[in-house]
Symmetry: C2
Subunit: 338 residues, 2 copies
DNA sequence: CTGAAAGCGCTAACAT
DNA sequence: ATGTTAGCGCTTTCAG
């Protein structure tokens, strides 16, 4: 299995020494070698089907050309585009990504982190939600290069790439206000995600600015079930007045609201308007087509990889935060208040 | 960055030789070492925060504990569950997956294949669709361990894990026949995917068995656009009679049919019933909720990883094909023929 | 049971 | 411009 032919074989065939072959076959050093010999080495390498063993190279150069990507769950639809964005930047530089899933477990995150470190990853991209003390602090203490994506840095001085969540929420609110809504509700994601707090805060201040009667309801998870359960509680409650519109913390939560509404024989947007967040794939094919905030996930991934590569290239680590613009996509889940 | 402390440090602290530390810290050899020394070594290792450098180990043992996974595109919703299934089996054995996306390009596939081989992956999982000559043949010639998932082996003697596509299509047809449909159509995926052929053939023979008037229309890709375009052509045609039901090659194609129907002011399932394939996430939330064939993607991934690990463990490579059962999920996109 | 020594395949510092 | 040498951190013979 795998590469039988080594640099020594190439050296023998080309009639030069191993060191020369190494120099000839590396971009940065190939100009240190005579044109003729270079040609001879290349010829020999091709003839033998030589491919460098990157494990051996990594041992010597102390770099694995591998980046670890820590996410909660690949099957959450926002992550595939983020991962592809990351990969798009990594690939052109010869890096590969190893992506691992924590499923929201701190223990799993710690274990996976350790395993990535053992693998000598050259850097890490954190896409887990923890706003509190995640493993990031430890990574920083251990001098590991990293960036955050879709979450703030939680006090750790790593760069972070996020969407403009606050603006997304406010745009949703303006849209709703223009439709005549006054009694609005926000389904807030779990507090462990920095995005939850930011969106909830933007909701509160946005309501104040627009003179809306806003109410925040916390959800246990960013999931359809959690959204449905939270909305069920609201609709079953005799004390809370039913809102005419809900701004969900993300699309999954919004989908939960759809389910709850259907269960309660209420229509959307007839009885209640719903706005999601993320514009997950196929959000426009839901029933009804979902009005939601589009977040540039691919670009966020790409940008985070760029920042990480910069660190690896030796640029000074600056704890900057890059905020990418979002866009409200109006479809059919929002309509006039009645 | 990364592990400063080496086996030599541990050896020094424990007062033993590096070789002994290595033996003590490896499952397979730890019984070759005295209880006392073992304890001392472990203590020293913990105290120093030692973690083995898996690059160095890999160079020596000629194994990277890494598996390459080649897929067309992570953002295609069937792949995240497959990848997680793979990972679930790999992780418990200490392997990691490096997943790469070909975007359907043969050139990209070849390049990515080479880069994975250079990385000394211990095995490969092919989830690309090629039924013709993909890179798999070359992998086999080079003695690389591999398995196929969600595609047949295309003549290469690797094991393959697939869903029972033929049965899924036939179950769809039986369902449609029971609803009174007679004039049915199949939207076939591109010929480069083995799944396309299998599903189309099952459609044809299923129609024959049930006495249905079946018609197969090829699509350029497994995408919403391709499905819509194919259906547009059918609906715009004055020569072909409109089918009362369509069995799409996958959910994306089915979604394209939804779009086309809407564009032509036709209803589903009122005017045309639609059945998808795969039961992609949130298929039940589409408009209308999609009747489709559920394929056990996670299990397929897990099973393929199991088969690969078996090969790596030295079991004889058997070109077996594992077919996992599928299930027709009846929702709201199918109804009585009229 | 443990020490000694070799070497996986490669790169980089040092010679020439 | 190229040869020589050392060694990255680990495992694994081979002795003892």
């Amino acid at each position: 299995m795998s590469s039988r032919v080594t640099i020594a074989d190439v050296a023998r065939v080309a009639g030069v020494h191993a060191g020369t072959v190494s120099r000839a076959l590396n971009q940065k050093t190939e100009n240190q070698v005579n044109h003729e010999t270079l040609a001879r080495v290349r010829q020999a390498a091709k003839q033998l089907g030589y491919a460098p063993n990157s494990i051996a190279r990594g041992l010597r150069t102390n770099s694995s050309m591998t980046i670890g990507v820590i996410i909660p769950d690949l099957t959450n639809p926002i992550f595939p585009p983020i991962v592809r964005g990351i990969d798009s930047r990594l690939a052109v530089r010869g890096y590969s990504a190893v992506v691992v899933n924590t499923d929201g477990s701190d223990d799993a995150e710690r274990l996976l982190f350790e395993s990535l470190v053992q693998r000598q990853v050259d850097g890490l991209i954190f896409a887990t939600g923890h706003s509190g003390h995640s493993i990031a602090g430890e990574a920083f203490d251990r001098d590991i290069k990293a960036v955050m994506v879709n979450r703030d840095s939680g006090g750790v001085p790593y760069p972070a790439v996020v969407g403009d969540d606050a603006e997304g929420i406010k745009a949703s609110l303006r849209h709703l206000a223009a439709l005549g809504h006054r009694r609005v509700m926000h389904l807030e994601g779990p507090p462990s995600f920095s995005t939850s707090r930011i969106r909830a805060e933007a909701f509160v201040s946005g309501c104040a600015e627009l003179g809306l009667d806003g109410h925040v309801v916390p959800c246990a998870a960013y999931s359809v079930e959690a959204g449905q359960s939270a909305m069920d509680d609201v609709l079953d409650s005799k004390v809370t007045a039913r809102p005419t519109a809900v701004v969900a913390g993300n699309d999954l939560l919004a989908l939960g609201v759809y389910h709850s509404l259907r269960l309660h024989a209420l229509t959307c947007p007839g009885d209640v308007s719903v706005v999601g967040f993320n514009d997950m794939p196929f959000a426009g094919d839901f029933q009804p087509a979902m009005t939601t905030v589009r977040t540039p996930h691919f670009e966020m991934g790409a940008e985070s990889a760029r920042l990480l590569l910069e660190q690896i290239d030796g640029s000074q680590l600056s704890a900057l935060k890059i905020t990418l613009p979002v866009e409200l996509v109006i479809r059919e889940s929002t309509g006039p208040a009645r």
